[in-house]
Amino acid sequence: MKKLTTFALISMLGTNAIAHSSVDTTTPENGAAVAEVPSEISFNFADDIRLTKVNMIHQEAHTVTLDLGDQTSFGRAFALPLQSMGEGTYRIEWRGLGADGHAMQGGFTFTVD
């Protein structure tokens, strides 16, 4: 009976988890190729969100946590300064809190060449 429970619990976990995400637009756009490293990145959300963590991952190797500065209140538009790491792929991963208490997360990627 223990085996049955364990099996059922594990099979239950094999479902798709989708975090609540409501990002509308980003600059640069997801998948964009740009000539120069942008001095800042921006997000626009469909609903109010409080950003809690934004990481930049360069070339899937170096991770830098971006400083949220004074953008630590609920809002829909955020712009954060970006530190240049040269050419290559930049992946931005963000986490935040919706006004209803939902944790939200998402990410976008752009290339500098």
């Binding site: 009976m1 049955l4 429970t5 059922a8 619990l9 239950m12 976990l13 094999g14 479902t15 798709n16 988890a17 989708i18 609540h20 409080r50 809690t52 963590k53 990481n55 991963e93 986490r95 935040g96 809190l97 006004a99 209803d100 208490g101 944790a103 997360q105």
Partner: protein
């Protein structure tokens, strides 16, 4: 496959569900069938307090895990800024409901006379927390929140009978109590259980909306698994009501043994149903 925080969220929800439904269920059974469960008085008191403690631990763990989801690391579980942020949202409100509810259960269960009503009120407050945030409350229809509360009270009633009936059926000297408890529960359940299932189906229909989403989305499929399992428990419960309990009433000791086995299987399936529900409410999003 959910990440480690998703799995943590499901497990903390499961602790919460088992704890609150178990504790409140035992309180309802104790209030409804006082004379029949009298021999189990002290044991039930201990179980109710332990289940309320489990629910309290699950609530606090779930709250801190939401902090971790905000930073993406274990540091978020104790980050005062993250927990402070959560505290200001409805997530903080439901934590208050659950802490107050479970503490009232523990305090009430050890108080004489009026204590059982304080404990029951604690159980209802803790159950009402589920009508504050989540997919069903987000529909923002007061009637549906009440429907959810009634569904949960029905679930608690059903879960609450399992322990006392299991224990009484194993003691030959209380066979009459067990048979009468099974009989009277069966009478009440023949009204309450169909009502709770109907309420569940109505909420599911309001959330999912169409058959296609039910078949093709992770949410819909998990809901179907839950329904199939509920169907299995229902068959066992029907067998208990129609076969084993009447046999026990006519003094068959062997029937009590069958009932004990049946309740054990029922309990395991109900645990899986609660795990499916925890998955539905923690990591799966509603079909668009």
């Amino acid at each position: 496959m959910p990440d480690i925080w998703g799995i943590g969220a499901i497990l903390s929800k499961l602790m919460l569900y088992v704890g609150i439904s178990g504790a409140t269920g035992l309180l309802i059974i104790r209030a409804a069938f006082t004379d029949l469960v009298l021999p189990l008085g002290d044991m039930m008191r201990g179980q109710i307090a332990q289940l309320a403690g489990l629910a309290l631990a699950g609530s606090v763990l779930g709250f801190t895990l939401r902090g971790a989801a905000l930073t993406g690391g274990a540091d978020g579980m104790t980050d005062p800024e993250m927990l402070g942020l959560l505290w200001q949202t409805p997530v903080g409100d439901v934590l208050v409901y659950r802490v107050v509810g479970t503490v009232l259960i523990v305090v009430g269960v050890f108080m004489p006379l009026v204590g059982q009503w304080i404990a029951l009120a604690g159980g209802v407050i803790a159950l009402w927390s589920f009508a504050q945030i989540g997919h069903v409350p987000e529909m923002e229809i007061t009637g549906v929140r009440v429907l959810l509360l009634l569904h949960l009270l029905g679930v608690a009633f059903w879960i609450g009978i399992l322990g006392p009936l299991h224990t009484l059926s194993q003691r030959p000297e209380y066979l009459n109590n067990a048979a009468m408890l099974g009989h009277r529960f069966g009478q009440a359940a023949s009204v309450i259980v169909p009502a709770l299932i109907l309420a569940g189906l109505l909420m599911a229909w309001m959330l999912v909306g169409d058959m296609w989403a039910l078949m093709t989305t992770g949410y819909g499929q998990t809901l179907l698994i839950k329904l199939a399992l509920v169907g299995a428990v229902l068959m066992l419960a029907t067998a208990n009501k129609l076969r084993f309990v009447p046999a026990m009433q006519s003094g068959e000791n062997k029937a009590a043994h069958h009932l004990v086995r049946s309740i054990e299987i029922e309990a395991v399936i109900i645990l899986v149903v609660l795990a499916a529900t925890a998955t539905l409410t923690s990591v799966l999003t509603l079909p668009a």
